[in-house]
Symmetry: C2
Subunit: 189 residues, 2 copies
């Protein structure tokens, strides 16, 4: 006897939007989304004002789990350097998977071209939280210029994951020495 | 009296594809391309096998001028460090323009999701030429690990331009210190 609860139409749409928009891009059609979710167009528009809102909601739904997976636990007792490298280890783990096509919170912004799109806003918030994590850690680690170093870490995160996402990089031996060199240059032990 | 020669339908299509695919993404429709170029669909398909081929041809057409603009002259007499920083100065100049939405040769690969797409191949070649430029310069500059440093420079290039492209960065005071720290760490004067 199974007690599995069947996902609701809303959950199926959110899941379809997350998967298809990542795999095929934000231009994925309403018809394809409805078909993947097993939901009628009518139901989609009863649940969401627009495809844009569905896309934003799908990103928002996945964000807490992503951030919890990416960042170290608040009380893990690690040094700033260890906690920063934890994030990059996670990114690298994700980025070498065959289905990886770049950080979804960056690619969605690149594809949408509009900072005002509801999904761009959600994506920006996720990246902003990461930037704030880096900023707090490098300050705690005594960086001479914490603003600069936090921005540098975001550049490495987005550059490395984008290059891995398009297959230009396999990241072997790249990320940790790069982050290490930037931390060293700013005096973070 | 003007001697201006009117652009051919082929040139107008190539220009429209370059502009619209950058501004709106690779999903821009054939109809929009034809309208912008003032060319019929029939003419488009007489000149190009497909929209994919038109997109690839438009990237290929713009690549030599872009690379010539981005890289220093072969005989400029600059040090490796100066020649590398020249590239990043150019990138920064481009990236702070209001219409900038990221390096088109990276974004097209991100959007297309397929390394086998003809336009992805063209874009990859342009980025590869930049990676080879960095590789040659850092070797000439005595980098301890020229492969690593060249890859790091590509990460900074793509990360900084992608973040500027989505409006997450204005690049003020960021690129040159980052490149400098990585060159220093590898012993490039």
């Amino acid at each position: 006897m199974t007690t599995e609860v069947k996902a609701s139409p809303e959950e199926r749409l959110l899941e379809a939007a997350a998967q298809l928009s990542y795999r095929e891009g934000v231009g994925v059609g309403v018809q394809a989304l409805c078909q993947a979710a097993g939901v009628s167009k009518r139901s989609l528009y009863q649940l969401f004002d627009s495809k844009d809102e569905l896309l934003a909601a799908s990103l928002e739904r996945g964000a807490p789990a992503y951030t919890a997976w990416l960042l170290p636990a608040a009380d893990d007792g690690g040094s700033p350097r260890e906690r920063i490298l934890h994030v990059f280890d996670r990114m690298e783990t994700e980025a070498v998977a065959p289905e990886f096509q770049g950080c979804r919170y960056l690619t969605v912004q690149i594809e949408l071209k509009s900072p005002e799109h509801p999904a761009s806003r959600v994506a920006r918030g996720v990246k902003q939280a990461l930037a704030e994590f880096f900023r707090a850690e490098v300050e705690r680690g005594g960086a001479r210029d914490p603003d600069l170093l936090a921005r540098q870490l975001m550049v490495v995160f987005d550059g490395a994951s984008a290059r891995a996402g398009v297959g230009a990089e396999d990241l072997t031996g790249l990320v940790s020495p790069t982050v290490g060199a930037l931390l060293d240059a700013e005096g973070v032990q």
